[in-house]
Symmetry: C2
Subunit: 184 residues, 2 copies
């Protein structure tokens, strides 16, 4: 089931893959997939062996309201990455950059499980939300790669709150500021 | 000579590696290294098989002056990456994220060949310049990974000037704006 799910999510994306098609590919009844995994979100997280479910962190990120969203997103990202999940998260990023298939799965994870939830709270059209989410992704991915993978100083050794102060305003601008939004 | 150079730059960093030590490790005279490669910059670029010398692009990036530096850095990054060097640049990034040794070399490349040259024009202390350069790196690395590696939309399909408009102001703020700078 998980192998069929990985293939379906990588080939058709999170939105395009259906539990029914995954069950058919795995030769089982869709009810069995629902029984084991619950929702498509949970099946997806199991399929990519996600070290955590971003939905669990969402209430805290949103708690400060719209004007603190940028800082709170950066703060939560650093808390997860500076914690015990770092080795698993690093392995996921290394694999996603080196392998096209895993890369597609990480993109689907970022878009469907992280960014969409953060931007869902914004008063904006779907296209605007997608563009703002992607801009946020560009800053957060770069922070992760610079701090944890390449270890560029002073980012690698800086205290989390220093990075929240420096980078939070960028994420806030991408989420709620005046930005000329790119279109696909 | 190139193998000795790669080992030295990865182990001791760009600043810590000397042409003399590299020549000794390779069993040749330092004059021979100078003869073949000229400067330490050029030896380094040859050692990492850099698809281009960032110094060649610098005059154009700086031509617009201090207030257009952010947009011009993003514009040049996209011109290089959207051009014929993209496959070589992608290979370098994939390898750097997957391999600690190559990662160190890419970090040294970014810091010594790209960022240092851009921030050298700023009126700031060395520590400030290093911090501003690292913040710029966090945004540019993320843009590259989101657009070219993970292909997050709409960043992957957007016209370069749309990305200059959206992301240039972030880079400008990191270079010359009011930022609480992180310290190592």
């Amino acid at each position: 089931m998980l192998a069929a799910a990985r293939a379906a999510f990588a080939e058709r994306g999170f939105d395009g893959a259906s539990i029914r098609a995954i069950a058919t590919a795995a030769g089982v009844d869709p009810a069995l997939v629902h029984h084991y995994f619950g929702s498509k979100d949970q099946l997806f997280l199991a399929a990519i062996e996600a070290p955590a479910n971003p939905a669990d962190f969402l209430p805290e990120v949103l708690a400060g309201g719209r004007d603190e969203l940028g800082g709170n997103v950066v703060r939560m990202l650093l808390r997860v990455w500076d914690g015990p999940m770092q080795p698993a998260a690093l392995a996921l990023v290394r694999s996603a950059v080196g392998n096209e298939w895993t890369g597609k799965l990480l993109r689907e994870f970022l878009v469907s499980q992280v960014l969409r939830r953060v931007v869902a709270t914004l008063d904006a059209t779907p296209a605007e939300r997608e563009a703002r989410g992607a801009l946020v992704a560009s800053q957060l991915i770069g922070l992760v790669v610079a701090r944890y993978v390449l270890r560029v100083e002073p980012l690698a050794s800086a205290a989390p709150e220093e990075l929240v102060a420096a980078i939070g305003p960028t994420v806030q601008r991408y989420l709620t500021g005046e930005v000329e939004l790119p279109r696909a």
